[in-house]
Amino acid sequence: MRKTFLSQNPSVLIFIALLAVFTIVVTLLSEVTGVGLISTSFVKTLGKTLCLSLVAIAMDVVWGYCGILSLGHFAFFGIGGYAIGMWLMYARTEGIVMTSLASQPLPPTPAEISDAIGNQIFGVVGSSEFPLIWAFADNLFVQLLMVVLVPGLLALVFGWLAFRSRVTGVYLSILTQAMTLALALYLFQNDSGLRGNNGLSGLQNIPGFEETSQAKVSIAFFIASAFALGAAYIGFAWIVSGKMGSIVQGIRDNEARVRFLGYHVESYKLFIFTTTAVAAGIAGALYYPQAGIINPGEVAPIASIYLAVWVAIGGRGRLYGAVIGAVFVSLLSSWFTGGGAPNVNLGFYTIQWTDWWLVLLGMSFVAVTLYFPKGIGGLFDYLVRKPS
């Protein structure tokens, strides 16, 4: 079956091949092999871009294929980041605390260790108590499970509530946006137990690998991100290509008709919404160790809207379109806002791209929506004419 699936979807094979080549080339040119053509910080940028591509694919499946314009998938991404970040921060702080306590004449008691770690982590929000949600922060396995379970359960509950009451279209978008805002506001609180607007930091230091150079760590995360992206691409391509794909796209085009065919539309939406939320959580868990810091601002509704922008610019309803959008826009964005783009001197006024990039992005987004609804990915249609 996998064979027929892949042979029917040559784009998947092409994508996987390109991704593999890209991964190998970047690895070979990185500082790990000694070539050093690609700096460690750029490897991190590329690794992060792969994670963004992964969440963009999830967004594409839920929006481009299933027609649910979710403005909450970046929230799931953030939750994944927080879940892994809790372990990273706890384990690293534990290491530091243990080292400093080891020099004391008396061996520390568990309560003393916990207090010291709590002080280190929650001192910024004026607390040293471990909130309940940190109960398993010392357990990597549980936190990894949470990367998957928390976004999944949240999506499941929220989706069940929303789909059950037949909230669709822009209503649903607004509702997902509200959910995202509620989550962001919650995280912004100091007593949320997640360090308020300080967020979690120092995530680039992987406990147990303190001696390993950042060059190696970043390459490891880069390769892991590539694997996750590849696996998700194959998985989602499989989901949206078969009969499931037919029904999901049918729901997008005419939900009522699918219902009258006897399909329980809500279950399908819930399946897609939850699966993509889980994928977004995984993407976040891979992204934030590379970014090093996560704070509630990352989860704000605007981030989820940008996600939709990437997918729209890249081209909805095709998985590679989402990847193109995420790569293109996020790299372009960091080029412009990072001061990489040369300023344009008009004589009477100098356009500084750090100021004008958002204006450009906004306007080009309007242009894409109006004139290129298929996005950049739509260009491939001109190259490859399908025999009809």
Binding site: M1, K243, M244, I247, F260, Y268
Partner: protein
């Protein structure tokens, strides 16, 4: 013979307007029935009630041998019970191929996980091709549904209905926008289908109804005005008043 569907004393009101008024109507397990009536007689609302789209204010809708009430059920549950519906405006999935459209309708398990694990089988393929043959789209299986002509879309929708293998087919204006030859073929398909199930056709076109040659129910202001053969109902004075009265108005 027990009835397949019994609609009893159903009423529904929209913002004070009584679309269906104490409507009672029954269908046998194998039957071809035409429902006619002027605009606003409640034909579409009646189908909405049976298929679960609209909840009536009062009355009962009893289905099948086990006498299940359809009122508490969702649209998809009702569809899985064996009631298929074709809409007035052809609604096929234009972005997908004819084969995909039919495959979606094909009577297979409807749950998300069985769909996810669904494998194409020879038997299913054969059924799709048989239905395609029946509706004259055997050559167009790989075409996208959006490219089809209006009449072909109507047939595709009827085909999807057949592929669903329902026990009750509700067909809303199947002949709209069809050429005379296409109508003839549509009539044949419906009459063939009615041999093994109940087929209810809602139609404006008297010529088409005459061709169906079946029992006719006339709806007016949300309730049954007359029932019987076409000749019988067209000679009924109240029916004439309703139709002519309206045309005179």
């Amino acid at each position: 013979m027990s009835m397949l569907l019994e609609v009893n004393g159903v009423s529904v009101t929209f913002d004070g307007f009584r679309a269906i008024n104490n409507l009672s109507i029954n269908f046998a397990p194998t039957e071809l029935r035409a429902i006619i009536g002027p605009n606003g007689a409640g034909k579409t609302t009646f189908m909405d009630i049976v298929t679960g789209k609209t909840k009536p204010d009062e009355g009962t809708v009893i289905w099948g041998e086990r006498n299940i009430s359809l009122l508490g059920m969702s649209e998809s549950q009702i569809a899985r019970e064996g009631i298929g519906r074709k809409f007035q405006k052809p609604t096929v999935f234009e972005a997908q191929t004819v084969r995909q459209n039919l495959a979606m309708a094909l009577k297979t398990p409807r749950g998300p996980f069985s769909v996810l694990m669904h494998k194409k089988t020879k038997a299913n393929g054969a059924r799709i091709e048989a239905v395609a043959e029946q509706i004259g789209l055997a050559d167009s299986l790989t075409r996208s549904a959006g490219e089809l002509s209006h009449g072909q879309k109507q047939w595709l929708e009827i085909g999807m209905l057949l592929a669903q293998e329902p026990r009750l087919m509700l067909v809303d204006e199947p002949a709209a926008g069809m050429t005379p030859e296409e109508r003839e073929k549509t009539t044949d398909i419906l009459r063939e289908a009615a041999k093994t199930r109940a087929v209810v056709v809602v139609e404006h076109d008297m010529e088409f109804v005459r061709r169906l040659n079946c029992k006719v129910t006339v709806l007016h202001e949300g309730s049954v005005l007359a029932e019987g053969s076409l000749d019988h109902v067209t000679s009924d004075q109240t029916v004439i008043d309703v139709y002519l009265g309206r045309s005179h108005a």
